[in-house]
């Protein structure tokens, strides 16, 4: 009879990674949290049935600090992968979760992160069906690193890709930008400013399905994470071979986020987001899709921010608040490290 992982005050030891009794305790605790029938079988692999076009993605999470206003690394890891699937129009179904844990990390904290992941999975309506844990010696990792992979199904008739943006498409942004990056920054000790800004980490699959119900003609979706909106738009402009023009005034940014950015010399356009999407849709569908997004609680501040044009292909131009124009380049160098 394998006992369960004892909580309160206990730390993860290297022995938890060796494959023996302690490892079994750790796995059992993991499995208990995630309530997945496939996972509970404790087989070497989850066996799942499918019919149709599959989407498959993976991402690793090394955010520092692991707790921040609005969430933690566990929530991020689940929502991030759910969103990557949603961005190709897939219905996310199953996730795997692997954790690399630093020796000395407390059991209470580990269970808290598993709880977060479970909660996020339930909100997103996905199941965590496979997992792994490894333990490394002190200093071998920074508290905990998590990798999640995910699969989802794409309905027929849905063809969403960064290559599909077309001239004349309107560009919709689902809400305020810069929240996640600034929330992380404010949680780092050395930045001694206090704000109420919270990470916007949230699952976008529901919104996307609602958008698709309104119109199957969505050409491109992207969630602007690392590198911010600017980088995402540049990638799409390049991959689709089109020009993009956006208006600075239309881009929603929280006052507080603007204030912090002004103070530190940062540009919200380059700061990571974890619960926003940008959609490229035909002109005639854009009002309808905008309303659908706005009626979802995660899309209240959605705005149409720009257009796809035939000029300056591969580049993004911004009309500035004062009426001038400038090029919006991709992020160069490192703006904020380990933001997700």
């Amino acid at each position: 009879m394998v006992e369960e992982l004892e909580s309160s005050g206990k730390k993860i030891l290297l022995a938890h990674g060796s494959g023996g009794r302690l490892t079994h305790q750790l796995i059992k605790s993991f499995v208990k949290k995630f309530r997945s029938p496939a996972l509970a079988k404790l087989d070497d692999s989850a066996v799942l049935k499918f019919k149709g076009k599959l989407a498959f993605t993976t991402d690793s999470y090394v955010v520092d600090p692991i707790y921040f206003p609005g969430g933690d690394i566990g929530k991020l890891a689940v929502n991030g992968t759910v969103n990557d699937l949603a961005m190709v129009g897939a219905v996310p179904l199953y996730l795997s979760a692997s954790a690399i844990i630093e020796e000395g990390f407390t059991v209470v904290e580990l269970e808290g992160i598993f709880d977060s992941m479970n909660k996020a999975a339930r909100t997103a309506e996905v199941e965590i069906v496979a997992g792994d844990t490894k333990v490394v010696e002190r200093g071998g990792a920074d508290k905990i690193f998590i990798n999640t992979s995910g699969i989802g199904l794409i309905d027929s008739g849905v063809d969403i890709s960064s290559k599909n943006a077309r001239i004349g498409d309107r560009i919709i942004l689902s809400g305020t930008i810069g929240d996640h990056g600034i929330a992380i920054l404010s949680a780092r000790e050395r930045f001694d400013f206090r704000t109420k800004v919270k990470s916007d980490s949230q699952p976008l699959n529901r919104i996307v399905q609602e958008m698709l119900k309104a119109s199957k003609k969505i050409h491109t979706l992207r969630d602007p994470t690392r590198g911010g909106l600017a980088t995402a738009l540049n990638e799409i402009a390049e991959q689709s071979g089109v020009g993009i023009e956006i208006e600075e005034e239309k881009i929603p940014v929280r006052e507080e986020v603007r204030a912090v950015c002004e103070m530190l010399g940062l540009d919200p356009l380059y700061i990571a987001n974890e619960g926003k999407l940008v959609a490229f849709v035909p002109e005639r569908d854009c009002k309808r899709i905008l309303n659908v997004i706005r009626s979802n609680r995660f899309g209240r501040n959605a705005q149409i921010i720009g257009t796809v044009v035939a000029r300056h292909r591969g580049r993004v131009l911004v009309k500035t608040s004062v009426g001038g124009q400038r090029v919006l380049d991709m992020l160069t160098g490192e703006q904020l490290p380990r933001i997700c």
Binding site: D192, F193, R194, T195, K196, E255, E256, A259, E262, M263
Partner: protein, 69 residues
């Protein structure tokens, strides 16, 4: 390098002050602006308040701008 932003003085504690800008709060050194008072606006640069922003002057500037224009 000359980034400085306007923030409102919320509290003064000797050489230090708590300032607020659009909901963001931080503590800055206020010794360079000896006559700052709570409720007034100061320019913040690298953790220091470097000068007061005179509300009258700001409004005067805007008035001139609207006249030129």
């Amino acid at each position: 390098m000359c980034l400085a932003i306007p923030a409102r003085v919320v509290r003064i504690m000797g050489n230090l002050a708590q300032v607020e800008m659009a909901g963001m709060n931080r503590e800055v050194d206020i010794r360079l602006v000896s006559d700052a008072r709570v409720g007034e606006f100061v320019l913040i640069h690298a953790g220091f308040a470097i000068e007061k922003i005179e509300k009258k002057e700001a409004e005067e500037t805007l008035r001139i701008l609207r006249e030129i224009a």
